[in-house]
Amino acid sequence: MSAGGPSLRWPARVNEIPKEVFLRPDIFEAELQRIFYGGQWHALAHLGELPEPGDFKTMVLGRMPVIVAHGDDGTVRVFVNSCTHRGNQLETASCGRRTEFECPYHRWAFANDGRLIGCPGAREFAPDFDKADHGLRQLRVAQFFGLIFATADRDTPPLEAWLGATVSALQDILGGDGRLRLLGYQKVRYASNWKAYADNDGYHAPLLHTGFRLLQWQGGQGSQTVTDNGHLAFKVQLKPVQNAGFLRDPSLVAFKGVDPQNGSRVVQLFPATVLTKHLDVINLRFAIPTSVDETEVHYAYFAHQDDDAELLRHRIRQSSNLLGPCGVISMEDAAIFQRIHVGSRSPGNAAFQKGVKRLDTLWHDFGQNDEAGNLPKWDYYRRVMGFARAGEGGDGHA
C-alpha cells in the first residue's frame, strides 16, 4: 500500500470495529481512492431506467459525476460527466434522451457513444490536437441481467467473478431474466457514514421492526451467503402474515408472485449497493457517499415487463409503502443509520455478538439471523484499506 495513507490500529478481536472508522475525514478520502475509484464494481443503474437507445441517466461514483448512456448503437457506456475541453459538467439533467451531449461553454459536442463530433475553431487549437483523443472519458462497464456496473480501475476482476456466490440471489431479485421496467424513485440523504448505512444485519429484523411482530409475520427458512470480498446474500422463504387483521387494508402485504420460496432476497454488494426483493417489491438502492457524515440513497423500484395491469398496480402501491425511507418495515432502519453515526462519536469499538463463534479468526458459515455475517465484509474492508490488526505487526499505517 502507498505510504501516507491514514493510520488506524484495528482491534485484534474479529468481532470489533473501531468507531472512528465512521467519522474520520482522512479515512473517507482514502476510501474514495482505494474503494470507490479502486478495484470494485459499482452498480449505477438498471437497463430498465434507460431502455431505449439515446436514454441516459446521470449518477455519481464516489464523488465523480458520471453519465450512464444508452448509445444509438445499443451499447451502454459510462462516461465521466466532464467535458474533455476544460472540464465543464457536461449534463445536468438527472435523466433524459439525447443523440449528442453538447457542452454549452464552447459548444463541443459528443455523440452518445462518447466520440467528440464538434469543436468550434479547431484550426487554431494546440498543434498536437486530435479530435480522436478527446472523446468522453469512459469507465469499464459490465452488466448482470441489466444491472449496470462500472469501475474506474482496469484491474478489477471480471464482474461475475467479483459477484461470486451472490449471483443466484441477485438473479432472483432482477426478475430472473433482468427484463425490468422502472416504476420510479425515492431519493433521500441520511446523516450517516456510508459504512453504517451498508451495515444492516440479519439479527435486527424481528426486533427493530415492530411491524413484523404485530402482524405475526415471521421469516421462513433462509440462508445467508457471505463472500470473501465483502458481499452478502440472504435468501428467505416467505411466510404469510398471520395477523392481517392488524391492518385495515392487508392487501398491502399480499404476495402475488408465483413462488414463495423465492419470496425474499437481499444482496449487499461491497461497498454500498443494496438490492432487495420482498413480496412483490423489486428495489435497487444506489448509494452515493456524499461526505464522511452523509450518504445519499436512490431507491429505484421496478416491475417486470411481463406484469399484467393488476400486478403492476399492486407493485406500485406495495413498493410505495413498504421498503423506502418511510416504508412500513424500513423507516426504522433509516432512523438507525443516523443514530449509529451519532453514537459512534464516542471512544472505543463497536462489537458484534450474535453468531460470533470465535474471536481470533473468521469462519465461513453464518445463519440467516447472525449479525456476524457482516464481519467478513469488515475484514475485507480492513484489508483493502491497509489497516493492520493489533498484534499482526506493522504500525497500522496504510
Binding site: R189, L214, F246, I316, P325, C326
Partner: protein, 163 residues
C-alpha cells in the same frame, strides 16, 4: 363555469389550516379527520420527478380510506420509539381553486415544510405543490384526494409524517 363561492373558499382555507395544524402538532387523528369518510378517500405523496414522468411510484400511497387509517396506526403504534422526534411548520398558500366534478373543488396550493429535529436547528424538509380534490360535507370541507407533489429531488432525511 360557476366559481367557488366565498363560503366555499372559506371552507377550503379552514381545511388547509386544520391539515397543517394537525401535522404540526403530530396529531395523526387530526390528520385523518381532514379526509372524507368515504372509502374512496386517498392521499399520495410523490416526488415531482416521478410525477412529471408519469411514474406512479410514490413516497406514500394511500389509495383508500383503510390505507389512511393504517398509516396512522403505523406512525402512532408501530414506529413509536424508533425515530428521532421532529416537528414541522407547514407554510401553505392557495394558488388556485376551481370546480371539479359532482360539486367538488379542485384546489392547488404551494407548500414548504420547515423541520426542527428535537435538539437541532431548523431546515427545509420539502417544498412542493398540493393538488387536492375537496368535498364540501355538512361538517365542513374534507379532502377526497390529496396529492402532495414535492420538488425536493433528494429529501434531506427519512420521513415519518405525511407532507
Amino acid at each position: 363555469m360557476a366559481m367557488p363561492s366565498d363560503a366555499g373558499l372559506g371552507a377550503v382555507d379552514a381545511l388547509q389550516q386544520a391539515y397543517a395544524a394537525a401535522l404540526d402538532r403530530a396529531d395523526m387523528a387530526g390528520w385523518l379527520a381532514c379526509f372524507a369518510t368515504t372509502e374512496a378517500a386517498g392521499y399520495v405523496c410523490i416526488a415531482a420527478e416521478n410525477d412529471a414522468r408519469d411514474l406512479g411510484l410514490a413516497l406514500m400511497l394511500d389509495d383508500c380510506r383503510a390505507r389512511l387509517e393504517d398509516r396512522v396506526t403505523f406512525i402512532t403504534q408501530v414506529w413509536a420509539g424508533t425515530f428521532q422526534a421532529y416537528r414541522t411548520r407547514h407554510l401553505v398558500y392557495r394558488t388556485g381553486c376551481r370546480p371539479g366534478p359532482d360539486g367538488t373543488l379542485d384546489v392547488t396550493s404551494n407548500f414548504a415544510i420547515m423541520m426542527t429535529p428535537e435538539g437541532g436547528s431548523t431546515t427545509v424538509l420539502a417544498a412542493g405543490e398540493y393538488r387536492d380534490r375537496v368535498v364540501l360535507e355538512a361538517r365542513g370541507a374534507r379532502f377526497l384526494h390529496k396529492r402532495a407533489v414535492y420538488d425536493t429531488t433528494v429529501l434531506p432525511r427519512y420521513v415519518v409524517y405525511p407532507f
